[in-house]
Symmetry: C2
Subunit: 125 residues, 2 copies
């Protein structure tokens, strides 16, 4: 298993246990988080700790569906369970030369309708 | 670069050039495509060729932002330009033992609002 893969495993484990000290030890001092759907950006390890520890209260738990790591890059596909709600989350990670996460790009795809124009080409599940 | 990474590069190149013969040569006979947001599923190489060649008309072009490959798994983050519109797309890929794509999970995250509860923790860009 690639090193970047292992770092992302540790990242989600720390998030699930709310071990914010372990969590921020995995990210670089100058980490940049971006969420393109909302155009949110968080810069720096301490701001990122606060964003995670204060920004998402509740009893959510993450299940990892896939982690892929290659060199200084990784991606994760997770399922977030929060009460009765389930969300998919997808993140891309870049690592710095010391193996810490220096860039995180976070996507939260939401349910939507199939365009009628291609409905005849698919099954539904 | 990992083999799975190269296959996904070829996949997006074939899509951009509408080279559907090259495109379906990269996927297994028993490929399964799923889009969790719409719960669409397409099964089999010929159905998947038709889904792509008929389901998405127009002059769209894909720019790869990241590809990550590791063993039999890969992920891609692309930007799709279609006229004046730009979309992000994220795919996860599983390969079979011969290196063909046997499973594709496709996400299309769309713009959304920042929850007020965490707005004080972020910048906007």
């Amino acid at each position: 298993v690639d090193d970047a893969h292992r770092v992302v495993e540790d990242y989600w484990r720390a998030a699930n246990t709310r071990d914010w000290a372990a969590f921020v030890a995995l990210v670089a001092e100058n980490v940049v988080y971006e969420a393109p759907q909302t155009r949110e950006r968080v810069r720096g390890r301490q701001a990122y700790r606060r964003f995670n520890s204060e920004g998402f209260p509740g009893h959510w738990q993450v299940t990892v569906v896939r982690i892929v790591g290659e060199g200084r890059h990784a991606a994760s596909w997770i399922e977030m369970a929060d009460g009765g709600d389930h969300y998919y989350g997808v993140c891309f990670f870049d690592m710095d030369e010391s193996g810490r996460i220096v860039r995180i790009t976070d996507f939260w795809p939401t349910p939507t309708e199939v365009p009628a124009s291609r409905a005849y080409l698919v099954e539904r599940y």
